[in-house]
């Protein structure tokens, strides 16, 4: 009998049956708000005593229903998300919040809205640059979202409530960072697969329960003697969304994944939301600038006649160099989801950047299906053979 009080086995359970807890909460009368992307300010949802739940695709489920609504040569993750929604797999949701983090997401949001009748639907527009006027516009968008969700919840939010929610989410961010400290030893105390299960559990639970789970996991992992075996290489993985342990296990068959810079890993937890006088200022700053997704091009400076390529690379990817050094990575895998233009455009420059500080890297494309796992395994093994 597995001791269910243990954090890791609980995370594994939540990962395997993600919607179990929110369905319980729904039966108790809570309202569940879905979101397909980490750019949705969850603090507003939490502050209104609503439950946020990340809608994910399902790699094992062939896309059939979404074909009537979306083109086929299109982000396979968004296709899979919409497919799951059309098959009523997320029918416990009361509403959904989407954002213009990338074009497929924006277009899918429109289709989603017209095909499925949620009680609440909101779309947050997002600028593609970090210029001051853009941030001003984005602040308006966050304010609109707050007002629209207030009207759905039937109550108004005080500044204090939003600040309390920010503290709670910041606590979660700090705990995830603490968890990633535990991959620094050699061998790491926790595997990439286990962390992915934990992070996906966090996206499936109310934030306070997620924080409890993290506390449990961290104390369990610190004291464990059955941690991962040392493998020939320590890997940094960079991707848009990495949400399936089948993929992580391919990496971990021959390496220790010590850092996952994707939105199934540390990306949404790397920084804190600043507690500003008006909490919406802190939220605006965090969601526009602190989440390092390729959807935003982080140029070093604008308005210059000639571009300094290396300065741009530092500005776009500097955090990855920092991570690679601090976690002592032997190599990096850039995992690209087919048709993900924002990430695909980064690949040649990102590889140049990693070459510049001497960490071997490779990029591998897959199409978010089980069928793409065998070619993925060959490429991962070949890369590991070159570096170890």
């Amino acid at each position: 009998m597995i001791d269910k009080s243990k954090g890791l086995s609980k995370a594994k359970e939540v990962y395997a049956n993600r919607s179990h807890r929110v369905k319980e909460l729904k039966a108790e009368g809570k309202k569940i708000i879905g979101y397909p992307c980490m750019y949705v300010p969850l603090e507003i949802i939490t502050a209104l005593d609503l439950i946020s739940y990340r809608t994910c695709g399902d790699m094992a489920e062939p896309v059939t229903e979404a074909d009537r609504a979306l083109p086929t040569a299109f982000c396979p993750i968004m296709r899979s998300c919409l497919d799951c929604a059309l098959k009523a797999k997320d029918d416990f949701l009361d509403g959904i919040v989407t954002t213009h983090s990338c074009d497929p997401q924006e277009k899918t949001a429109r289709v989603w809205e017209s095909y499925i009748n949620y009680s609440y639907f909101h779309f947050i527009d997002m600028p593609g640059t970090l210029r001051p006027e853009a941030l001003e516009y984005y602040r308006g968008q966050i304010n609109d979202f707050k007002k629209s969700l207030e009207s759905f919840a039937g109550k108004e939010l005080s500044s204090e409530k939003v600040k309390a929610a920010i503290r709670l989410h910041n606590r979660q961010r700090a705990l995830v960072r603490e968890l990633y400290e535990l991959t620094k030893p050699e061998p790491p105390l926790i595997s990439g697969t286990e962390i992915l299960q934990v992070v996906k559990a966090l996206m499936s639970l109310p934030v306070a329960e997620g924080n409890e789970l993290l506390d449990q996991v961290i104390s369990e992992v610190k004291g464990r003697t059955d941690g991962p075996q040392k493998k020939p290489a320590r890997l940094l993985v960079w991707s848009s969304t990495l949400d399936d342990i089948d993929i992580m296990q391919i990496f971990e068959a021959g390496a220790n994944v010590v850092m996952d810079e994707s939105c199934g890993g540390i990306r949404a937890y790397r920084a804190d939301v600043k507690l500003t006088d008006d909490p919406l200022d802190g939220l605006t700053h965090y969601y526009a600038t602190e989440i390092t997704c390729a959807r935003t091009f982080r140029e070093a400076a604008f308005g210059e006649a000639r571009k300094d390529y290396m300065a741009d690379l530092e500005s776009r990817f500097g955090h990855l160099k920092h991570i690679a050094k601090e976690w002592n990575a032997d190599g990096a895998i850039f995992l690209l989801v087919r048709y993900c233009d924002p990430f695909a455009f980064e690949m040649p420059s990102l590889k140049d950047y990693f070459d510049s500080f001497g960490i071997p890297s490779t990029y591998i494309e897959y199409d978010y299906t089980q069928g793409s796992l065998a070619p993925l395994r060959t490429r991962v093994e070949a890369f590991l053979e070159t570096i170890s």
Binding site: S372, A374, P375, T378, R379, A382, F383, E385
Partner: protein
């Protein structure tokens, strides 16, 4: 002391048995069908007979290729990328770039001092691979091994604009009904394939010497088109199909000697030539 490299590709299964100085004692090639995938043992028997060896005389077996997990008598599995790079660099000591066009993939390996340092591989679409030629040959009613010679007779440059195998097939049918000559159409197809592979290869910096391997390297029309598209000379091994299996056999020797020098108990294990009962 003998070593075996078993390369189960998507189309062909190749086995090379070598002795310690890399001299090839036997080399067997056979089609990889749905059946043959489970029958690496049968091909191994043929290779042993040809070399007049018994299985227990083989010190170490490395399996590679798509079917590398279907070889129960292998001591180690290594990807075809590493094995090709090793095989090619044993034949051409100055190789820096190796291009392999196989039955359902195309890959390019950068090699430095005999070691693979970087690689690219096509995605799972078969455009730009041997399968493209097989399907087109069937559409045109010629044998795949005749394509090269026919295309060399071409006198007119004909653009086939589709990389996609299925679209190219449709385009070929249109060209035929337009009255174009078979040799010009095939030369156009070879150019389409070569430009697709060249695009892939250019993601890595191409440095001489450049070696071309894989079944497709036996097609003289492709070799010509590849040279034109890459703008460089290409070296081709005597048997371009065998480099993966050869590399696997050489790596088998290296792993065996390493294990021996580290004082590990002899890695020679009792093997039985059983068919793979599992399928992964």
């Amino acid at each position: 002391m003998y070593f075996a490299g078993v390369d189960i590709g998507s189309t062909m299964t190749k086995i090379v048995l070598t002795q310690r100085d890399h001299r090839v004692l036997s080399a067997i090639k056979g089609p990889t069908g749905p059946e043959h995938r489970q029958l690496a043992n049968e091909v191994m028997k043929m290779a042993l007979e040809q070399a007049n060896l018994q299985l227990d005389e083989i010190s170490y077996v490395v399996a590679t290729g798509y079917g590398r997990l279907n070889v129960p008598f292998a001591d180690r599995q290594i990807t075809e990328l590493t094995c090709h790079a090793r095989g090619v660099s044993s034949l051409f000591t100055n190789v820096r770039t190796a291009i392999d066009i196989g039955g359902q993939d195309a890959k390019c390996m950068k090699i430095n001092n005999g070691k693979m340092v970087d690689f690219v591989m096509n995605d799972k679409c078969v455009a730009g691979t041997g399968r493209f030629l097989e399907i087109i040959a069937a559409t045109l009613g010629v044998k795949v091994e005749e394509l090269g010679d026919i295309s060399l007779k071409s006198t007119k440059k004909l653009e086939i604009s589709s990389f996609c195998t299925i679209f190219a097939q449709q385009e070929v049918v249109t060209r035929l009904s337009d009255g174009e000559n078979l040799e010009d159409i095939i030369a156009g197809l070879h150019d389409a394939l070569a430009s697709r592979v060249a695009g892939l290869v250019r993601r890595l910096k191409i440095e001489p010497d450049v070696v071309l391997t894989g079944g497709v390297a036996k097609n003289a029309g492709i070799v010509k088109a590849m040279k034109e598209n890459l703008g460089c000379e290409l070296l081709i091994p005597e048997d371009p199909l065998l480099t993966g299996a050869l590399g696997a056999a050489i790596l088998a020797k290296e792993y065996f000697l390493k294990a021996m020098s580290e004082g590990e108990p002899s890695p020679i294990k009792a093997r039985r030539l059983e068919r793979a009962m599992f399928f992964r």
